[in-house]
Structures are given as C-alpha cells and as structure tokens.
C-alpha cells in the first residue's frame, strides 16, 4: 500500500477536474507504469496484484482491466497448449493487449441471441468473421475503443453449413507498431457514459475479416481442418468463470458500500446541525434518529456482504478443486446461488450508496464527497455480468426445481434443504399455523429461522402459482413469464435468508468477546431491519404477529442507540486509506470544511478571476439591453 501511495510516479491532479480524454490518458499512463512496476517488484500473486492495482487506480476502473481480468484468464482457461505458446507470453509481456468482446448492441445477457458470425472456410482453413447487422456490432467491451490490439470475440460458429453456437476467437484488430485498425475492422469508442470515464469502452464491426483456423480457442470444442466439428465434453465448465466473476462482484458491492458508509458516518460525526435540546449547541447529525436509521442498517449490510463475499470466494475455491478432479455435482447450486447473490448484493449496495450520499445532504452531491464516483462505478454491476432480474430468475429456476423435487418425494440437500420441511408441514392439518416459528427477536439463530420460513413460503407461493398457470394449459414459457414477479420475490427472499444465515453463522467464529458483541448487534440490526422493511411478508405468512412487528420496529430503534457510540470505530475498521476513499467529507482527520474550500479553488472554472464568458456573452448583453 505504502509502496504505491508514496510513489511520485502515481501522483496526479484530482481526476474530478480532468476531461474524459485526460482521465483516460492518466489512467493509461498509470496502468502502463503499474505493469512495469509489478514486474520490477516481482509481484505475481493474483491477490497481491489486485491490491496493487486498487491502490494505483484508487478503486477506479482502468483501461487494462479487461486485458488482465478477462483476456489473460480466458487464454489460460480455454486455449490449447499450442495457443498458449503463441499468445500467452506476448500477452503477458503486453506486446499483445487484449479485450473480451462478447456483448453486442442488440444483445447482452441473453447470449444465444448474439449475431456475430464466424464461418469456416475449409479451402483456406480460415474463419470469416462478420457483423451482419447494426445490432450485431460489438458494443461496450472495455479497452476496445482505443487501447487493445487484439480481442477475444464471441461469435456464432458456422461450419459445414450448420450453426454450432457461440465460440471464442482470438482476433487481431490493430496493426502492431502503428496501432491502426486492420483492414476489415471498424473500431472506436462508444462515447461518454455514466462514469467509467477512464475506460475506452468500444465498438467493433467486422466485414469479411479472416483469421486462421488456429485462432479459435480450442481447448474444449474444436473445428478440424476439413470443417468437422468436435463437441466439448461438458457445457457446465463455462459456469466456472461466471461464478468466479460474480463472486468478485459481491466483494465489489461490499467494498463500495463500506466506503460510502465510511464517508457518510465520519461526516455525520463532524457535521453539526439544528438543535435537539433547546439552548444547547448544535448536535452532531449522527445523533438524530433519522440519520442513524439511514446509516446504521447500511453499515450492518456492509458487514453482512463482506461475510457473504468471503464465503462465496472460499466456496468457489473449494469447488474448483472438485471441478479439476471431475466432480461437478455442486456447480449448479453454486451457480444459482452466486447469480442471485450477485443481483441481491449489487442492488442493495448501489441503493445503499445513494442513501449514504443523500445522508450527506448537499455536499454529498459534490464530486469532492467521493460518493458520486463510488455510485457510478458500482451501479453498472447491476447490469454487467448478467442483468440482475435475469439473474434472480435463474436462481428462481433452481429453487422451483428443488421445490418440485421435494414435492415428488425426494429430499434436497445443501442451502435449499429448508424446502424439505415444507413438505413435512403440509402433512399436518393446520398448515399455516404449523409454519409459525416461535421467533425470539433477540436471537440471531431464531431470526434465521424466521427468514427461512419466509423464503420457504414465497418459494412455495411462486411454485404453486406457476403450476396454476401451467394448469391453464399455458405453454411453459408463458406460464413462467406470468409468474416471474412472484419468482423474483422468492429469489430475493431466498438470498436474504442466505445472507442472514451466513452473518449469524460467522458470529461464533469471532473469538474476541467485544468484537463478537458488536458484530452480534450489527447482525441483529441487519436481520430486524430487513423484517421491518418487509413486514408484509412476515405478517401475511403468519411468521410474526402484529405485536411482534411492533416489537421488531422498537428493537431496531434501540439497536441504533446501542450502535451509535461504536459507529465511527466500525467504519475505521474497514481501514480505507484517505487516498483510496478519495473523499473530502470522509477524511480520517475530519477536517472537512477547510479542505472543501481548498479543493474548490482548484476547479477549472476558477482558473481566472473573470471567466471568458463575461467578455463573450454577459458584457455585450448588458450593454445592448
């Protein structure tokens, strides 16, 4: 950390004052430098690289993200040994800079709809790549617009007159040496976005562009010289990368929310406003119940998501061990779980970051608060790597499948095993009453049971409604569509349960008593706040009574007061360096106002005392009217 933060080469003007071109240039300068320094210091461990990178770019995206995060890993995972020889070392040494071109203008999450074609020509042993329509132009890949000279392109493979589905191809796009686009390639930047100014997200159009047969990534599927297609052994393997990336997003969501909480909570301790008691000095705004009610549940959520992120990462590593030994049995469950959790955490975290920003009042809206940047960098993950609603529906598919398995008499295992209880309850005569769990609102374990009951109930409702639609002799797809709002609710309830469960389970692992105590408070707040925001579900399913809901609401407020004295310490524990937070409001030393003034003086509009617009527009107007 100190290595990077103190390195003069990585210093630069505040990004907020730069134009988009300047920001791209700065980011690229640092990326280039970073790669050289990484090699110089011999840093090679992926986790260390990740930290190094996040300090160099202070958590912002950078133009080489796709090269490091997608191009190289895809080569490792899907290239044959021969291809590794040809491409990996040049790419490692950055003679080749690559990107990953999957999304098209017309299609994103629904991959089967991609339109780019790769047609095999046995005569020359080449693939002919084409973008047949406007909507098939590759659109959005990071680093494609200006930086890369190669791309891994996903295209529909045609050989011997048949479509074989999506496959990956290594495509040179710019001339080595001059960096000019190659003939047959049209490439450029897609223009300004909501954030991600440092990145040259690009477009790519290919017109009868030929690449040699050997450029198809052929570790699994293959096209032989005569055009014969050889199928891959299992299509589940591609799940691996997706699970991995989505697990990273859960971590990003946790980090983004933690940063925003750090800023908002520190600032709320510094800002004094209005009066609580007549005649006394203005209190810290963190003493207002409404402010605590905005921020502390988010703080608890940030802790919860850290725990979830860590859990998915370990589970992934454990299961990928199994995968390499050929055991794929746990993969579908993990895939379903990460899809849902990716959606759940990214939705909640980006809404939470906005709450934090608004809790900082007007100053939160200034770029100097740092929160606008956290938000615009975080919120696109609701869409990329799988649109959230579609993700929730994938999880729902798994839940319904598990439910059906239970109703057909076969118990399920793993995280959905609570569905087994449902069938046992159904045998009993009063089935609503039977669902009643005695909820003790001070006990995390008991709250886990309440969430479990809610998830079970909503999964059951969705599955039954789906069945009812099917009984109306609707097609499977139509019935699914007519039930999808219910299905998303079921998935959300399931994910919520998983988060509460993981949080509660973590408590027993904490050995320090004081730390355990404060984490228990956070865990209770997380669980109870979730109930108070979704009382309808708990009341309707008969899990809680009116009186209990009133108690829950009351206890949430009591917890706010209990957490208040530890609030700043709890965000200090996230241990974000000031440079990484990039926030005047969230400074560790709390000297907010002086530093805001200093920051504003650097604004480009302040370069001259009288702005040129005065001479150009104002003066002529005043003299004319």
């Amino acid at each position: 950390e100190a290595l990077v933060l103190n390195d003069p080469d990585f210093q630069h003007e505040d990004m907020n004052f730069l134009s988009r071109s300047e920001r791209y240039e700065q980011a690229l300068r640092k990326s280039a430098l970073m790669v050289m320094k990484l090699r110089e210091h011999g840093v090679a461990d992926p986790d260390e690289i990740y930290w190094f990178k996040s300090f160099v770019h202070r958590g912002r995206p950078e133009p080489l993200d796709l090269h490091l995060g997608m191009f190289l890993p895809t080569l490792l995972a899907q290239a044959t040994p021969e291809q590794q020889d040809r491409f990996f070392m040049p790419a490692w040494n950055l003679d080749i800079i690559g990107t990953y071109a999957q999304t098209e203008m017309g299609h994103g999450t629904h991959l089967r709809g991609l339109e780019t074609t790769a047609t095999y020509d046995p005569a020359t042993q080449e693939f002919i790549l084409n973008s047949p329509t406007v909507s098939s132009i590759k659109w959005w890949p990071g680093g494609l617009g200006k930086t890369s000279n190669h791309a891994i392109v996903l295209a529909q493979l045609y050989t011997q007159g048949q479509c074989r589905g999506l496959h990956a191809f290594i495509v040179p796009i710019r001339q080595i040496g001059t960096h000019k686009p190659l003939p047959g390639i049209t490439v450029g930047d897609i223009g300004p976005k909501f954030g991600f100014d440092e990145i040259d997200n690009g477009y790519l159009k290919m017109d009868n562009y030929r690449i040699p047969r050997e450029n198809m990534l052929m570790k699994y599927a293959q096209v032989e010289p005569d055009g014969t297609y050889v199928k891959p052994v299992s299509d589940k393997l591609t799940y691996g990368t997706m699970v991995f990336i989505r697990s990273l997003i859960v971590g990003d969501a946790a980090r983004g929310l933690s940063k925003a909480c750090t800023i908002a909570i520190r600032y709320s301790a510094v800002r004094h406003q209005s009066e609580l008691k007549p005649g006394e000095p203005e209190p810290q705004i963190l003493d207002y119940q409404t402010q605590q009610y905005k921020l502390f549940p988010l703080l608890a959520t940030a802790y919860a998501f850290h725990i979830v992120g860590a859990y998915i990462k370990t589970t992934y590593h454990r299961i990928s061990g199994d995968i390499s030994s050929g055991n794929l049995s746990e993969l579908p469950e993990l895939h379903a779980l990460t899809a849902g959790l990716k959606a759940f955490t990214s939705w909640v975290a980006s809404a939470g970051v906005e709450e934090c920003r608004m809790a900082c009042g007007g100053h939160g809206y200034s770029r100097c608060s740092g929160i606008p940047d956290i938000y615009i960098n975080l919120t696109p993950c609701c869409t990329y790597e799988g649109e959230n609603t579609v993700m929730m529906l994938q999880t729902a598919r798994f839940l319904v499948k598990s439910y059906n398995q239970v109703t057909s008499g076969q118990p399920v295992t793993g995280i959905v095993s609570y569905l087994n209880d449902l069938s046992r309850q159904r045998i009993q005569p009063q089935h609503v009453a039977a669902r009643m769990v005695t909820v003790r609102i001070n006990d995390p374990a008991s709250l886990v049971e309440a969430y479990k009951a809610r998830a079970a109930c909503l999964v059951e409702t969705a599955a039954k409604n789906l069945q009812a639609e099917l009984n109306h002799r609707k097609s499977k797809e139509e019935a699914w569509n007519k039930t999808s709002v219910d299905l998303v609710r079921a998935s959300e309830a399931h994910c919520h349960y998983v988060v509460v469960k993981l949080f509660a389970a973590k408590l027993s692992e904490v050995s320090d008593a004081a730390v355990r105590a404060v984490l228990t408070e956070l865990c209770l707040l997380y669980a109870l706040y979730g109930i108070s925001k979704n009382t309808g579900d708990f009341l309707q399913a008969g899990i809680l009574t009116d009186a209990q809901v009133t108690q829950v609401n009351q206890h949430v407020k009591e917890l706010l007061a209990i957490i208040r004295p530890n609030a700043v310490a709890l965000v200090d524990s996230f241990d974000f360096h000031d440079l990484l937070l990039g926030s005047v409001l969230g400074r560790y030393d709390g000297n907010v106002y002086e530093n805001m003034f200093d920051w504003a003086k650097k604004s480009p509009l302040n370069k001259t005392e009288v702005h040129q617009s005065f001479y150009k527009h104002l003066k002529p107007m005043q003299s004319k009217l």
Partner: protein, 656 residues
C-alpha cells in the same frame, strides 16, 4: 419511417393520443401554444443540445450563459412576456443547461419580500439584465436548518449601513447557482444584529462583482465550488464577505424593517422570509422533477418495445422486452406515478394560489398548511421520481448507462432536487409536525383544514373487499390509504404522548419518534396523491376512452403502493392476508392491460426528439443506428489517440 416494432404499438391505442395530450395541457389552445414555443426554440441553432454529452464543464457553462443571453433576445423577438401564455413553456422547450435560473429566484425573492420602493428600484434593473442576481442562503456548514446560518449583518447606526461578515469557514455561502462566475448581485441571508441583539435570519441585497469589468468587489471572495454529480453547466459558487457594507435600504423589508434609529419593526410572521422557498418548491416540481421523470418513462418504454431479447415462445421471434412481466412491473408503475404526480402538481398550485392571495392581504392562516404540503410533497415526489428514473435507467440494460441514452443526466439532475430547497427527511418531519398538531386539534374537537379532517376519524375497521375486482374500486383503495395514513399519524402521536408522560423530555421524545413521524408524513402524501388521482379521473366522464385508461393507471398507482408497502396495510388487520393476495392478483392483472397502451401513453406526453435528446427514446425507434452514429461523433474517436504515442507505444515495445 418508424421502426415497425414501435409503429405496431401505436396502431392498437385504446384512446386518442392527441386528445389525451390536449387534456394534459389543459386544452387544445395550450397544446398549440406549447408546440409553437418548442418549435421556435428548437429550430434555433443556439439552443441545440446536440453536443451536450461531449462537452467539458467549462464548455457547458459557456453554452448555458450563451443560451440564457440569447433567450432574452428570442423572447423579445417572439413577443413572449413573463405574464404571457408562452412563458411557462420556455423552460420545457430549452430543456435545461441554461444559466440565470437563480436570477429569476433573485427577482422572485425581491418581489415577494421587498417593499414597494425596493421592487420599483431593483426589478427593472434585473429584468433588463443591468445586473445579474443570485440567491445566497445555504452555507458550507448549514443548509435546511436556516436558524443555524452564521453569516452576520450588523447595523451601524452612524452610517445607516449593514456590515456583512463571514465570521468563520463554515459560514461561507456555498452552492448558490450563478454565483461562482456570473452574478453581480445576490440576496444574502444573514443573522441580523442591531445594538448587539440578534433578530434572526434576514435577506440583504449585496453587490458582489463590478458592473464595469466584472471583477470582485472589495471585501468579496467568490468562485466556483467545483464539479458536481450533474449541473456541469451551472456555476454553483462560494462567497466570503469581509466587512461588506450595504445601505439600510438593502434589507428586504416588506414584512420587517430596521428603522434609522435602529428600532426593529415586524409585520406578520417571521416565517414569511422562507416563503420564497415554498413557492420555489412548488414551481420546481414540474420542470425539474416531474417532466424529467416523464421523459425517462418515454425513453425506457419506447426502447422496451424496440429491444427484443430471448424468446417467450419456442420457435418464434425474440420477444419485445416489454412483454416480460418483470419489465412491465418495473416500468408501468412508474408511468402511473408520472401521471399521478402530474395531477398533484395542479392540486398544489391551486393550494398555493389561494394561499398567496391571502398572504398578500397579510392573512397568514394558510401558511402552515401550505408549508406542510409543499414540504411533504416536495420530499415524496423528488424521492419517488429519483428512484423511478433509476429504475428506467436500469431497465434499459447496458445502454441505459451510456450518456447518449439521456437517462444518466435525467437521473443526476433529479437527484439534486432531493436535496436543494430543503433536505427531504427534514421536510417530511415538518409535514409530520403539522399532522400531529392537526391530529391533536381534531381529537380535541377543534377545527382543522379540510385536507386533514380525516385524521379525526381513526377507528379499528376492516377493509370490505370480497374479491379481487373489489380492489379496482377507487372507494375501496382510497379508504385503505386513508385508514393507513390516519393510523400511522395517530399511533405516532400516541407514542409521543406515552414517552412524554413517562417523563422523557419533549425534544428527546420527538427525536425517538422521528422514524415513525417521517413514515406517517409519507403515508399522508401518498393518500392525498391516490385520492387526487381518483378525483381527477372521475371528472373525466365526458371523455370515455381517456377516462378508461386513466382509471387503469389510477388503479395501478394505488395497488402498486399497497403491494409494495403491504406491511403497513396488514399491520392492524385492516387488510387481511387473503385480501392482500387479491391485491397482488389485481395488481398483476393490470400490467398486461396497461402494457397495450404503454407507448401511446408516453407519446401523449408529447416530447420532441430534441427535447428527449436520447439515442434510445426517439419517436421513430431507430435505436441502434442512432447509437452508432452518435458514438462516432465522440471526440474520443479522433483518428489516433494521443495516449497511444505517449504511453501505449512504449509499453508495447518495451522489453519487460
């Protein structure tokens, strides 16, 4: 030619789009005027927004000033005056990025708070742009809590002047628009001191820049506060006052005055000084909040019938994404809310006009109600619209994040409205204070304003609905909202009482109930919005086709609210679990019905392509072509990137 996917949506409209537009405008005549204004502005190249998404902060500021100056000329040319019928459509037509908005607020505060002599002196100068005004209230350390402002104005009896000072860093004026670079004058709010006694916050006209060369006046430090989440075109500024002297006559004195001998005289409530804010809150709702939300709905809904993704039936063409239930459930409730808020705006305007008439007669009776309603609705509507625009943005998948979709700038613009003119939570608590007061008064049998008489009638009751169709009755759901709002107000009042009786101090008890209080205030506004929608719709009897679709939207607005806040309706058993299932069923049944008219319903908002400025939302639906063409205009696509020569080339060719 129109994209066939969009054209087909327009053929099946159940009502006449043109008639709905006219009704929304309040008559065919208004529609004609509005279109003429929009046409005149849009065909003028100075107002073009073509390059807006590619411009830097400096360029946008300059363009905003250029447009503002040109607008004066244009109005003169067209013969549009401030009290003419065209005036209210100008800001819709210019569609943002124009300077001197605060100049208008400067003028408004002088007309409202100034004496007749002050109005006679300053308003002509301002309307001829001899000076440019701003409105300096917020400070670095204080915003919504006005009593906490720290700028001081000390009366000097010997020279008959006020001496204005910024005593510490947190007292610096911070955020006022047009002040960073443009303004020559400002209305500065400061704590008034006479003979060492503080009389609270008062407004003073202060000159900050020279009228000759625009340099800063002696004792003034001012500048731009730096980049924000949006509003790149606006020069929000800071201001430091160091012993700045203004004559006694520069304190706005319609309602209070410091006389030459230093005696302080007041007519009416001191709260009247905040009256500018009440009026601004109401007038900003339409232009800055509701219209942007209507634009976001237009963009997202049109795009959702052009975008095809995945298949609903095997073997068929990919489906329009608006045919997916989840997409409908995202967008259609926002569309219904857009209509609901559009109608609430009229309701508030009427309330305000009545109140203003009374205030001019120095009768301040309506002020509390007016203040409570403008605060509550400002909070509820801005918050709702901000999240609605975000939903629209995300509903457009990846392309929503491109600035070229128009959605990010609509979103960031609306977000600011959640904070300026009063932080939303504080505003809700002000509404709550009014409601609690009225509830107590009503329970004690005292008279209360008609809008809150319902608070007196809280009884344990049950919703009478027997099947899902019953929930399509406005009486049934309006009643449910009324019950819920009354219950939340009364139970919070009871809780407050209980705390106070148990010995908790009043202010502590208040702070301990604020979460509930804010919830009660929201519930009240939600109830009024539903009731107002139902009443507006019922008045439409003469136009059957339009009434029918408005009824569907009203039902959807109401049921969506119950569906997404089911807990508060279930809580005391007013709605049972079985009834909640009926609500859900009725709610989901409405989606495919409104789906059929979704595109005509946004067409009726009648936004031109230029005013939407969106590659995704244009009337003809040629989304992909437009996205591709616009992207190529990006300055980043100048043939060679300078970064290549400087950084990439050495990287590519270095031997690592």
């Amino acid at each position: 030619s129109v994209n066939p996917d969009l054209a087909s949506e327009r053929q099946t409209a159940s009502f006449s789009v043109e008639k709905l537009t006219a009704w929304l405008d309040g008559g065919v005549e208004n529609t004609r005027t509005r279109r003429a204004v929009v046409e005149a502005i849009e065909c003028d190249p100075v107002f073009s927004r073509e390059n807006q998404y590619f411009q830097s902060q400096n360029e946008r500021y300059e363009a905003a000033v250029r447009k503002a100056v040109h607008l004066q000329k244009k109005m003169h040319e067209m013969g549009w005056t401030e009290d003419g019928p065209e005036y209210k459509y100008i800001s819709r037509a210019v569609a943002g990025d124009v300077a001197f908005l605060l100049h208008r607020i400067f003028m408004r505060s002088i007309s409202m708070l100034g004496s007749d002599e002050q109005i006679a002196k300053w308003i002509p100068l301002a309307s001829q742009y001899r000076l440019i005004g701003s409105y300096a209230q917020t400070e670095l350390g204080h915003g919504t809590y006005l009593q906490g402002l720290e700028t001081t104005a000390v009366f000097d009896i010997t020279t008959q002047e006020f001496i204005l000072n910024t005593p510490k860093i947190s007292a610096m004026k911070w955020w006022p628009g047009d002040m960073g670079r443009s303004a020559t004058h400002t209305v500065a709010f400061a704590q008034l001191y006479v003979h060492g006694k503080c009389y609270g916050v008062h407004p003073f006209i202060v000159q900050i820049r020279s009228l000759q060369d625009h340099s800063l006046c002696p004792g003034i430090i001012a500048g731009d506060i730096g980049p924000k989440m949006s509003f790149e075109h606006a020069d929000n500024g800071f201001l430091v006052l160091q012993n700045v002297r203004v004559p006694r006559e520069n304190m706005l004195s319609k309602f209070c005055e410091v006389q030459p001998d230093g005696s302080y005289v007041r007519w009416g409530s001191q709260k009247i000084n905040y009256f500018t804010m009440t009026s601004v809150r109401i007038s900003l709702l339409l232009d800055e909040v509701i219209l942007p939300m209507m634009k976001a709905c237009t963009i997202a809904i049109r795009y959702s019938v052009v975008r095809r993704q995945s298949k609903l039936k095997p073997g068929e063409q990919e489906a329009k994404i608006l045919d997916y239930q989840t997409q409908q459930e995202k967008l259609l409730p926002q569309l219904a809310a857009a209509y609901a808020f559009y109608f609430i705006k009229d309701y508030l305007q009427e309330l305000f006009d009545n109140g203003y008439r009374e205030i001019q007669k120095k009768n301040f009776d309506m002020l509390p109600e007016l203040h409570a309603f403008s605060s509550g609705f400002k909070a509820v509507i801005t918050q709702y619209c901000a999240s609605a625009v975000e939903i629209c943005l995300r509903a457009c998948g990846g392309h929503g994040y491109s600035l070229l979709s128009g959605l990010p700038s609509l979103y960031t613009k609306i977000l600011a409205s959640c904070i300026y003119e009063g932080e939303n939570t504080i505003l809700l608590l002000q509404t709550a204070r009014f409601l609690i007061k009225c509830f107590m008064a009503a329970s004690a049998g005292q008279p209360v304003p008609p809008s809150v008489t319902y608070l007196a009638a809280v009884k344990p009751r049950k919703c009478p609905a027997k099947n899902k169709l019953d929930f399509l009755s406005p009486d049934i759901y309006t009643e449910a909202y009324q019950h819920m709002a009354a219950r939340l107000v009364s139970s919070t009042a009871a809780k407050l009482q209980e705390l106070i009786q148990s010995g908790v101090k009043k202010h502590d008890a208040w702070n301990q109930c604020t979460v509930q209080l804010a919830q009660a205030a929201k519930a009240h506004c939600h109830y009024i919005a539903v009731k107002n929608f139902a009443e507006t719709m019922e008045k439409l009897e003469t136009q059957a086709g339009i009434q029918k679709i408005m009824k569907h939207l009203c039902d959807l607005f109401a049921l969506h609210g119950i569906f997404s806040n089911s807990g508060v309706f279930l809580h005391d058993g007013y709605i049972s679990g079985a009834q909640m299932d009926m609500v859900t069923a009725s709610y989901l049944d409405l989606l495919p019905i409104i789906r059929k008219d979704a595109v005509p319903l946004v067409d009726a908002f009648d936004f031109t392509d230029k005013s939407l400025n969106s590659a995704l939302g244009s009337y003809d639906g040629h989304v992909y072509q437009r996205l591709y063409e616009w992207a190529q205009k990006s300055p980043t696509n100048e043939q060679m990137s300078p970064a290549y020569e400087k950084y990439l080339k050495p990287l590519l060719h270095s031997k690592l």
